[in-house]
């Protein structure tokens, strides 16, 4: 350093440093304007570029948000359309089943009414009045007889006749009253039946009202979606998230089932594909077991698609009914075959496990091979499990569909959030560069403050 060419005054570093400082300050002073321009240009360019980038990212986020909303609203619309369709189908069924039989019901009610009216009329029939001549005879009977025996006898006869007529009239009256009462009594079951029929009608009408109410609600929701209201978007987003978590939980349970299923069939699979064959570091038997499980899942998916329960593969649900029914039976048969294979593998697993345990005991000590447990309960349990699992796994297609749909929405929301964050970061970095440019310019002027001060002090004011 001592002999360096920069050492202007060897032996006097302070002086050298001072001279160099003056030279540098002078250079910086004379280069001030272009350096300022360059620094401003640099910081502004970066600031502007980052702002443009931020705007582009914000725009992308907005577009993605709009696209997400479109997808969300469209899926919501479809779901409501399906719900309304189902409600109408139910209403149609109610009308077909219940209201369709209304003429018969009406006829029954009319019959009951006619019968009730007839019986009522019958109950109104009054007993016949006593004959008119009875009054005349009654007057005659009240005539005083004196001591005339002839008159007495005649009066006695008249009295007897009157009493007879009276008795007859009483009997008649009683009979008529009895008939009226029995007519009224026969009205009771008719009233009850009519009441029952009317209650049935009431129940059916109430059911229809409920369906109509539900349709109204769905239509209101549909209208909200059509108008793309914030409320509809919020509701659908929240519903999508709920669907995601519920489907996620169900899928996690299904994965648990897959693991158990895998362990049930992986070991006995060695009997079929060999226990010494590997694909990479994995036993071929393990891979084969997994393939069987994946095939079951695929068959389950096809089955659900054929039944139009899920709509992940539109090509299946859009097949004509004949072909779809064929597909349904084919996939179901394959599922049954796979279930049979699993069941037999579970059986084999039990046998192999028992053999291995027995062999281990034989090798580890006892002279004779020990007999293994003869309980068939675990064997039956394993076989049933092996048979049932494929069908249980078939239903995984339902939560899987929900999961896929809701995952798309969730990923969309996350991406929008991420894009907004990136845009904010870009804006912040842009502002930082702008500020840094100003700071550097300030520091630059600070270094050359002396000539600047002199300039302002001695510069002649320009007119």
């Amino acid at each position: 350093m001592k002999d360096s060419i920069f050492m202007l005054f060897p032996g006097s570093p302070a002086l050298t440093l001072l001279v160099w400082a003056i030279i540098i300050v002078a250079i910086m002073y004379f280069a001030r304007k272009p350096v300022h321009v360059a620094l401003r240009a640099f910081s502004r360019t970066i600031h502007a570029s980052l702002r443009v980038a931020a705007r582009a990212v914000t725009l992308s986020a907005k577009r993605l948000k709009a696209r997400n909303e479109d997808v969300l609203l469209e899926s919501g619309k479809k779901a409501i359309e399906v719900a309304i369709e189902r409600e109408f189908e139910r209403v149609e069924k109610v009308i077909e089943r219940d209201i369709g039989t209304y003429p018969e019901l009406h006829r029954k009610l009319s019959d009951y009414n006619s019968k009730i009216e007839a019986d009522y009329q019958a109950s109104m029939e009054t007993p016949p009045p006593p004959p008119e001549w009875v009054k005349a005879v009654d007057t005659l009977a009240k005539i005083k007889t004196g001591n005339d025996p002839m008159v007495g006898k005649m009066i006695g006869d008249i009295k007897g006749t009157i009493e007879k007529a009276q008795n007859k009239a009483t009997d008649e009256y009683r009979r008529a009253t009895r008939e009226r009462l029995s007519a009224l009594k026969s009205l009771m079951p008719l009233w009850r039946q009519s009441n029952k029929l009317l209650e049935q009608v009431d129940g059916k009408i109430t059911g229809l009202f409920q369906h109509a109410k539900k349709i109204d609600e769905n239509l209101a929701e549909y209208k909200e979606i059509e108008q793309r209201s914030d409320k509809a978007v919020r509701t659908l987003s929240s519903s999508s998230l709920t669907q995601f978590f519920i489907a996620g939980i169900v899928l996690a349970i299904a994965i648990g089932g897959i693991i158990i299923n895998f362990n049930l069939i992986a070991y006995p699979m060695q009997e079929m594909v060999g226990g010494n064959s590997y694909i990479g570091p994995i036993k071929t038997a393990d891979v084969a077991a997994l393939v069987v499980i994946l095939l079951e899942l695929a068959m389950g998916l096809f089955l659900m698609e054929s039944l139009r329960i899920t709509h992940l593969l539109p090509i299946i649900s859009s097949m004509d009914d004949r072909m779809r029914t064929r597909m349904l039976w084919i996939t179901f048969s394959l599922l049954v075959i796979l279930a049979g294979i699993e069941s037999s593998l579970a059986y084999m697993r039990d046998i192999l496990a028992a053999e291995s345990a027995s062999m281990r005991q034989y090798l580890m000590g006892s002279e004779e091979q020990m007999q293994t447990s003869v309980s068939t309960i675990p064997l039956i349990g394993q076989m049933v499990m092996g048979f049932v699992f494929p069908f249980v796994l078939a239903f995984t297609a339902i939560p899987m569909e929900s999961f896929v749909h809701s995952l798309r929405n969730l990923l969309g929301m996350i991406t929008v959030g991420l894009l907004h964050f990136i845009a904010a970061l870009l804006r912040f970095t842009g502002s930082l560069f702008d500020g840094l440019g100003k700071l550097v310019i300030g520091v630059y002027d600070l270094v050359i403050f002396a000539p600047l001060w002199a300039e302002t002090k001695f510069k002649k004011p320009t007119k």
Binding site: G274, G275, N276, S277, Y278, I279, I282, M359, M364
Partner: protein, 217 residues
Amino acid sequence: MKRLFYSLLALLTAATLFSGCSEKTAHTKGVYMLLDTSGTYTEELVKAQQIINYILANMNPGDTFAVSRIDTGSFSEKDILAKVTFDDRPSVTNEQKRGFRQKIDEFVKSVKSSVYTDVSGGLLQAVEFLNEANPADKTVIIFSDMKEELKPGYKRDFPIQLGGFKVIATNVIKLRSDIKDPTEYLGRLDMWKKKVEAGGGDWVVINDLERLEPIFK
């Protein structure tokens, strides 16, 4: 769970490689056991049965196992008492294990002592056998006191190629002379260690038959 995950990975990544060319020997074990039948050591063979049974219990489909005797001239196929490469099917493997044990039991009942102890010849035969079977892990177990006594005229002073082999000496009992002079015992073990390691192999001694895990480590 881990196995399932790896299976899924293997299914996806190895699908392209899956054209019937699955490997068969990359994960197999090969064990060759030498039984010393010289002098009074035959009395120790009951312990050897324990080891054999332990090995059989831990063998899987595709593994190779052979048991051979050490006698006057051990470098010979005639000394192999029982050998087997287990079938791919676990059910058949179990049958093979049963048959193997029966052969060993019969041998132990009818064994006759040999005059000389050709350990090196037996080791050479083991190397030849296992190289031919070509399993992934090659282990030679020597059930002996490791005192070699060669018949005059037998040449064994040459290096044996043991690269990739694990040589385990088990039940190395102390002889009367060893009790008098332990350096003789230690020297004998050291000589074998050097011989094995010079050939590129790993040397392990297991005297506690309750701890046989190192055989499969």
